[in-house]
C-alpha cells in the first residue's frame, strides 16, 4: 500500500518533470524517404498541419525530403544526425525490408531511436469490374488452370503487393505473373486497361474506381473487415490461411538522443493520435490506427523482419542479411 503510494507520488512528480525537461526551441524537421507527393511525404505534411492546428507543438514543423535507395538515404541521414533533438523521421516497412536485400543499405531501423508506431495501411485485392472473377477463389482457380497466364501489377518484388501474391501462391499452389511498375498510377492504368488482371490496391484509391463502376474488390488484406468494405471477406475469411503482412508507418529519431527527448516525442505523438483531426485523417484514408510505444516497436521490428526474410527467400529474392 505504502509502496504503491510512494510509487504513485513518484510518478506524479516524475511525469511533469520529464515533460518539462525537453521543449523544442527551434523548428522541428520531419525527414521522409519519398519526394513530394509520396505516401510518407503526404503523411508528414498532414501531421505538420495537424500539430499546428491543434497547437500541441510550440514550434513550426518543416518536412525534409531525402528520397533514394528505397529509404536508405533517409535512414542514413538520420543516423548521421546523432544526438539531434529537433528531428524525427517517418519510417515504413521498406526501411526494414530494404536492408535485407540491398548490401548498400547499411543503416537499419535498429540503428535509430524508435519513437512510435502510428498506423497500419490495409489493402484490398481488386479486379476490373467486367472481369469474370467474382471471388478470390475464382481468380485463384483460373490461375491454377492456366499457370503463369494471369498477371498482377504491383511495385517492386519486395513490396507488399508481391508478398501477398507469394503467400497466396504458397497456400493455393496456383501461379501467376507479377509485373513491376514504378508508379502507382501506372499500376492502376495497367489494370483498367486490361493489361493485367489483378492488383493489390489501397482501399481509398480503389474506392473511387468502385464507385465509378470500373473495379471490383475480391478480398481485403487485413485482419478484420474495413468499415468501408463490410461485405468483402478478409483473406482468411475467403479461405486462404495467410497472415497479412502489415504496411506500417511510424516515427523514429536519430540515435543517441536523451531519454527525455524520446519521452517528449512519444507524448507528442500520443497526443496527436488522440486529436479529432488525426482520427478524421485516419478514417478518411481508411488506415488502421495502430499506436505502439517505443518499447513495443522494437519487438515489432524483429517479428516483421523475420517474417519478411522468410517470405522473400521463398520468393527467390536474394537476401544479404
Amino acid at each position: 500500500m505504502r509502496k504503491s503510494l510512494v510509487f504513485a507520488l513518484g510518478m506524479a512528480f516524475a511525469v511533469p518533470a520529464l515533460a518539462q525537461s525537453f521543449t523544442p526551441t527551434r523548428p522541428v524537421e520531419i525527414v521522409v524517404h519519398t519526394g513530394p507527393g509520396g505516401g510518407a511525404d503526404v503523411l508528414a505534411r498532414a501531421m505538420a498541419v495537424m500539430m499546428e492546428k491543434e497547437k500541441i507543438l510550440p514550434v513550426r514543423v518543416q518536412v525534409t525530403n531525402k528520397p533514394g535507395g528505397g529509404g536508405a538515404t533517409a535512414a542514413a541521414f538520420l543516423a548521421e544526425k546523432k544526438g539531434e533533438t529537433h528531428m524525427i523521421g517517418i519510417f515504413t516497412g521498406v526501411w526494414l525490408t530494404n536492408p535485407l536485400t540491398s548490401a548498400e543499405a547499411k543503416v537499419s531501423l535498429r540503428d535509430l531511436t524508435p519513437i512510435a508506431r502510428l498506423l497500419l495501411e490495409p489493402a484490398v485485392i481488386a479486379v476490373k469490374a467486367d472481369a469474370p472473377y467474382k471471388t478470390l477463389n475464382d481468380f485463384v482457380a483460373a490461375a491454377k488452370q492456366k499457370p503463369g497466364e494471369l498477371k498482377q501489377s504491383g511495385g517492386s518484388i519486395t513490396s507488399r503487393d508481391n508478398v501477398v501474391r507469394q503467400q497466396l501462391q504458397k497456400v493455393s499452389g496456383a501461379r501467376w505473373q507479377f509485373i513491376s511498375f514504378p508508379g502507382g498510377g501506372e499500376r492502376i492504368a495497367a489494370l483498367l486497361g486490361g493489361h493485367v488482371q489483378m492488383m493489390v490496391i489501397e482501399p481509398n484509391e480503389a474506392g473511387e474506381h468502385i464507385r465509378a463502376g470500373n473495379m471490383r474488390v475480391l478480398a481485403q488484406v487485413s485482419d478484420s473487415r474495413l468499415p468501408a468494405f463490410p461485405n468483402v471477406p478478409t483473406l482468411k475469411e475467403a479461405g486462404f490461411n495467410v497472415t497479412p503482412v502489415p504496411q506500417v508507418r511510424g516515427v523514429v529519431a536519430p540515435p543517441g538522443i536523451p531519454r527525455e527527448n524520446v519521452a517528449y516525442w512519444e507524448d507528442l505523438l500520443k497526443k496527436l493520435t488522440q486529436t479529432e483531426s488525426w482520427k478524421k485523417y485516419v478514417a478518411d484514408n481508411q488506415f488502421e490506427p495502430a499506436y505502439q510505444t517505443s518499447a513495443e516497436l522494437a519487438k515489432f521490428y524483429d517479428e516483421f523482419t523475420a517474417q519478411m526474410r522468410d517470405i522473400l527467400q521463398e520468393a527467390g529474392v536474394k537476401t544479404v542479411r
Binding site: P36, V49, G69, G183
Partner: protein, 501 residues
C-alpha cells in the same frame, strides 16, 4: 453546349478578383521556380500546401496549377542564356536556344520560347476541355509494348542528334544507356554498378548529368582561350531583342508539332515531358528543309521542344483529373493536395465538382495570357545577363549549377558527380563527341528497359508481343524509318551529284 455552359461557369469562378490574384501569384511563382535550376514545381507545391488550407479549394488549385504550368515558361530561360537546363524538360531547348544566344539572338530565342509556350499551353487547355475523358480511356490502351515502342522511337532520334560522326553519336548514346542502368533494379531488387555506394542505389539524377555535361562542360571549354571568354554579343535596341517575323514564320510548324506531340505524350501516364520535347525536336528536324542547320541556332529548334513541354502540362492533368492517376511527380502532389482538401479524385471527380474543374480550365486560359504578358517584357531584361563579362558570368554559372544540383537532392555526393560529368562534358567536346545522345540515352534508358521487361513478362518471354500489337508495330516502323533517314539523305546527295554530272 455542355462545354460552353461549363466554360461560362468556369470563367465566373476564375474571374473573381481573388482567384485572378491567386492565378497571378501561381504563375509568377511558377516562372521564378522555373528559372531557378533545382527547385522544381513538386517541391514548391508541397511547401505551399499548409497555406492552401486557409484558402478556398478553387483558389488553391488555380494557384497550384499556375505554379505547374508557369514553371514550364521559366524553364527555358537558363537553358537559352547559360546552357544550364533548369529541369529535364528544358534540355532539348539548350541545343538551339544556347546557340542562338551565342549568335547574339538570345532575345529572339527567349521570345520564341515564350510564344511557343503560350500557344502550346493554350492548345493543352483546349485539349483538356474538349477531349479529356475519351482521351484518358484511350491512353489506357497503351501498355508496356507501346511504351517500349515509344521509347525506341525516341531513341531512334539519335541519328538526328548526331554531329559529323554517327559512330561517336552511338557511343555517346550507349554511355547514356549504361548510366540509366545504374541503381537498384526494380524487378529483382538487386543493385547494379553501385560500387557499394548507397548514394547510387536510386541511380544518377538526370539533372546532375545534364547540368554537368552542358553547363560545366561549356564553361570549361570556353575558359581555354581568351577569344571565347569574351562576353556574348547582345544587340542594342528593343526591336533587335525580340523575335522577327521571319523567326515566327520559321517556327509555325514547330508550334503545331510541339503542341500536339506534347499534349498526346503528356496524356500517357508513363511517358513525361522530357521524352515529348526530344521527340518533337527530332520530328521538327526530320521534316525540316534545313536539317543541317539544327544545333546551330534555328528558332524552330527552340519552338518545338518548348511547345512540347508546355502542352504536356495540359495532357498530364487529364489522367489525374479524369481517372485519379498521376503521371508525374507534380500531378502526384496536386492529387495529394486534392485529397487533403477533402476531395475524392477519381473517375467521378469532374462530374461531381464541375465548378472546380471548369474554374481550373478557365484559369488556365487566363494564366497563359498572364504568363505571356509577364514573360515578354522580361525577355530584353534577361538578354542583358549576357553582357556580363566572362570572369563574372562563368563563376556565376558554376555557382548556379552547384546550388541547383544540391537543392534537388541535398546530397554533396551529387555535387561531386556534377564535377565529374562536367569534366566528361569537356572531354567529349574536345574529342568532338556530341553530348545530346548521351542525355537521350540516359532519359529513355530506364523507361525503355522497364517497358521491354514488362512486355516480355506479359508475353511469357515471346518477343512477338512487341510487333503483334498495332500501335506498337506502327511506332516501331516509324522508329525504323527515322533510323533510315541518314541513308535517304545519302541517296539523295548521290542522286543530286549524278544529276549534276
Amino acid at each position: 453546349m455542355d462545354i460552353a455552359a461549363g466554360l461560362l461557369q468556369g470563367f465566373a469562378v476564375a474571374a473573381q478578383p481573388a482567384n485572378l490574384l491567386w492565378c497571378f501569384v501561381g504563375v509568377l511563382l511558377g516562372t521564378i521556380v522555373g528559372i531557378m535550376p533545382g527547385l522544381g514545381p513538386p517541391a514548391t507545391i508541397a511547401m505551399l500546401l499548409p497555406l492552401t488550407f486557409l484558402m478556398d479549394p478553387a483558389s488553391a488549385i488555380i494557384m497550384l496549377a499556375g505554379i505547374y504550368y508557369g514553371a514550364k515558361y521559366g524553364g527555358s530561360t537558363t537553358s537559352i542564356l547559360l546552357n544550364v537546363p533548369g529541369e529535364s524538360a528544358s534540355v532539348a531547348t539548350c541545343f538551339d536556344g544556347y546557340q542562338m544566344a551565342r549568335r547574339g539572338r538570345a532575345g529572339a530565342a527567349l521570345g520564341i520560347a515564350a510564344i511557343a509556350s503560350f500557344i502550346a499551353g493554350t492548345v493543352g487547355v483546349i485539349g483538356i476541355m474538349l477531349i479529356a475523358p475519351p482521351l484518358a480511356r484511350m491512353a489506357l490502351a497503351f501498355s508496356s509494348p507501346e511504351y517500349f515502342a515509344l521509347m525506341a522511337l525516341g531513341l531512334a532520334m539519335v541519328v538526328l542528334l548526331a554531329g559529323r560522326s554517327m559512330v561517336k553519336a552511338l557511343l555517346s548514346m550507349l554511355v547514356g544507356l549504361w548510366l540509366a542502368g545504374i541503381g537498384t533494379d526494380l524487378f529483382s531488387q538487386t543493385s547494379r554498378f553501385t560500387f557499394g555506394r548507397m548514394e547510387l542505389l536510386s541511380g544518377i539524377d538526370f539533372v546532375v548529368v545534364a547540368i554537368g555535361v552542358f553547363a560545366i562542360g561549356e564553361v570549361l571549354a570556353n575558359m581555354e582561350g581568351r577569344e571565347a571568354a569574351k562576353a556574348l554579343p547582345v544587340p542594342k535596341g528593343l526591336r533587335n531583342l525580340l523575335p522577327t517575323g521571319q523567326d515566327l514564320k520559321d517556327s509555325r510548324f514547330a508550334f503545331a508539332n510541339g503542341s500536339l506531340v506534347g499534349f498526346f505524350i503528356g496524356v500517357l501516364p508513363g511517358a513525361g515531358s522530357t521524352i515529348a520535347s526530344f521527340i518533337s525536336y527530332g520530328l521538327e528536324k526530320a521534316v525540316s528543309r534545313r536539317p543541317q542547320e539544327f544545333g546551330t541556332g534555328v528558332p524552330e529548334g527552340v519552338a518545338a521542344p518548348e511547345a512540347a513541354n508546355n502542352a504536356e502540362t495540359g495532357g498530364a492533368l487529364i489522367p489525374m483529373l479524369t481517372l485519379g492517376i498521376p503521371g508525374s511527380s507534380t500531378t502526384a502532389v496536386l492529387l495529394a493536395a486534392l485529397v487533403l482538401w477533402g476531395f475524392k479524385p477519381g473517375p467521378l471527380f469532374i462530374g461531381e465538382n464541375p465548378a472546380l474543374f471548369w474554374g481550373l480550365v478557365a484559369s488556365m486560359y487566363i494564366g497563359n495570357v498572364m504568363l505571356l504578358v509577364l514573360n515578354m517584357p522580361l525577355v530584353p531584361l534577361f538578354a542583358q545577363v549576357l553582357r556580363t563579362p566572362a570572369y563574372v558570368l562563368y563563376p556565376v554559372i558554376i555557382g548556379i549549377a552547384v546550388v541547383g544540383v544540391y537543392s534537388t537532392s541535398g546530397s554533396l555526393f551529387d555535387v561531386w558527380l556534377l564535377a565529374a560529368f562536367g569534366l566528361l562534358g569537356y572531354v567529349m567536346r574536345k574529342l568532338d563527341y556530341p553530348s545530346a545522345p548521351l542525355i537521350l540515352g540516359l532519359v529513355l534508358g530506364g523507361a525503355l528497359e522497364r517497358a521491354l521487361r514488362q512486355s516480355l513478362m506479359m508475353s511469357d518471354g515471346s518477343v512477338s508481343i512487341l510487333v503483334s500489337r498495332p500501335v506498337s508495330a506502327l511506332m516501331l516502323s516509324l522508329a525504323l524509318l527515322v533510323l533510315l533517314i541518314p541513308a535517304f539523305g545519302k541517296l539523295n546527295r548521290l542522286r543530286l551529284q549524278a544529276i549534276e554530272k
